[in-house]
């Protein structure tokens, strides 16, 4: 294989001789230091191969051996180049390929972030960008040490950050910090008071003195656990700490107006395409300002390879002209919308399985659908306040 490649570059020819004394020709060739191979005799004809550069020296030797010589085949780079000498485009394409390869190979095409669960990927990319990790940046100019040292300072939720360059992919690897447990400052004396009205179910005192019994009804602001503890040496002040679980009643009201305004599409959609390549964007539209109200929608069409998005593609921004139009909801539509909003508030306010729906009433009042729901809840109503202060009732 190696010898074939070595022959291809200088080029080689297949020669056929006829008549005369081919043995003498071959002996003269070897004596002259011309290497030949694949020598084959068939009846009166002898074929052999030699380097293209040696062909000229064959003529006088063939004449001396009284053989007629003919060129049968040509192989190798000089003949290939000669065949394509008029096709300049091939040469230009080859040169362009080399230039593009030299320009793009040392640059970052894809940035991947791995190892984060809580920290947003956008924040990590912003910190990495300050150290040269960005699409289109040169791979050899990455400040990896700087990122490792200063990255966790810039993003306190990370304990480690680094970047591993791999051909054209910069892989940002992070390890998130495990939060340290909160240290309770016991030097400030405090009371635990009730956050809202309720009936006590259970009290867990970890520090301080309990003031209420199970089953007792309390109002908002009642001291449940006090930091004033009587000792043999008199009253001592401690920080109160604990949980007080109580049965409470909560009410949620949701209002949905029947008359409302909504944007209605009117006119033709305007598309503004932008071609993106590495870190460069090429807008294919005039930069004229848009009039009136619009709904904006964006679609991205980028090349992908092995589940990676390559930095070459088109981003289409669609602008749909709209006008504000007054509309009226039916009572049924308003009720469905109100129930959706109520469910969202329930999920935000209550822990799962910690509440029970008591009543739910809906009515139309002054052009608005009002949905009111009451709940029986089991929740921790403990709130810590400094001794001597009362809970601000919100």
């Amino acid at each position: 294989m190696l010898s074939r490649v070595m022959r291809w570059f200088p080029g080689w020819v297949r020669v056929e001789t006829e008549g005369g004394y081919p043995e003498r020709l071959l002996n003269d060739l070897t004596a002259a230091g011309v290497p030949v191979w694949h020598v084959r005799r068939r009846e009166e004809r002898t074929r052999f191969s030699c380097l293209a550069g040696d062909y000229r020296s064959l003529r006088p030797l063939a004449r001396r051996a009284c053989v007629r010589m003919r060129l049968r085949q040509k192989h190798g780079f000089p003949f290939w180049r000669h065949r394509y000498r008029h096709r300049k485009g091939l040469l230009v394409g080859l040169a362009l390929y080399g230039v593009i390869l030299a320009l793009l190979a040392p640059r970052i095409w894809v940035v991947q972030v791995v190892g984060n669960t809580e920290t947003p990927t956008g924040d990590i990319l912003a910190v990495a960008r300050q150290r040269g990790v960005a699409i289109g940046a040169r791979m050899d100019r990455l400040d990896i040490k700087g990122l490792q040292i200063n990255g966790p300072d810039d993003l306190p939720t990370l304990s480690w950050i680094t970047v591993n360059p791999n051909s054209c992919v910069a892989r940002v690897e992070v390890t998130e910090r495990i939060p340290t447990p909160e240290v309770i400052d016991l030097s400030v004396p405090s009371d635990i008071v009730a956050l809202r009205d309720g009936r006590i179910l259970r009290v867990e005192v970890r520090s301080g003195r309990r003031l209420v019994r199970d089953g007792e009804a309390v109002t908002a602001g009642t001291v449940l656990i006090t930091g004033r503890v009587e000792t043999d040496l008199g009253e001592k002040l401690y920080r109160s700490y604990g949980e007080v679980w109580a049965e409470t009643h909560r009410r949620i009201t949701v209002s949905v107006p029947l008359l409302y305004t909504r944007p209605v599409p009117e006119g033709t959609v305007i598309c503004r395409p932008t071609v993106s390549f590495l870190c460069w964007d090429f807008p294919l539209y005039s930069n004229s300002a848009l009039q009136g109200e619009w709904i904006h929608r964006q679609t991205r069409h980028f090349l992908t390879a092995r589940d990676m998005t390559l930095p070459l593609g088109v981003t289409n921004d669609y602008y749909l002209p709209v006008v504000e139009q007054k509309s009226v909801r039916t009572a049924g539509q308003a009720r469905v919308l109100a129930e959706q909003q109520l469910a969202a508030q329930e999920a935000a306010l209550f822990a799962p399985d910690s509440y029970e729906l008591l009543t739910r009433e809906g009515e139309i009042r002054d052009g608005t659908y009002v949905l009111t729901a009451t709940y029986r809840c089991r929740e921790n109503i403990a709130a810590e306040v400094p001794i001597g202060q009362t809970l601000p009732i919100s």
């Binding site: 043995e23 071959l26 004596a31 030949v36 191979w37 020598v39 068939r42």
Partner: protein, 81 residues
């Protein structure tokens, strides 16, 4: 001393001529001096101590240089004369 030793070794091994046979498919001859006769079924090569003739079918000289030659094909017999 070294030159004398080389000469002695060369004489004892046939004047620098070596022959390597790979099955009945290939013969590598090193130190041959040229071709005496060349036909489709017979190739006769000159060596320092005489001629070596390789008989067979579809014979071909795989490579031929000033140092030696390679004969490829279906070899049937080799004669020394």
């Amino acid at each position: 001393m070294g030159q004398k030793g080389d000469k002695k070794r060369r004489e004892s091994s046939g004047g620098g001529f070596f022959m390597e046979v790979e099955g009945n498919r290939r013969v590598i001859l090193s130190g041959c001096c040229g071709i005496q006769a060349y036909a489709e079924d017979c190739i006769c090569l000159r060596t320092p101590f005489g001629a070596v003739t390789v008989y067979g079918e579809q014979l071909e000289m795989g490579c031929m240089t000033v140092d030696g030659a390679t004969v490829i094909g279906r070899l049937q017999r080799i004669e020394f004369s």
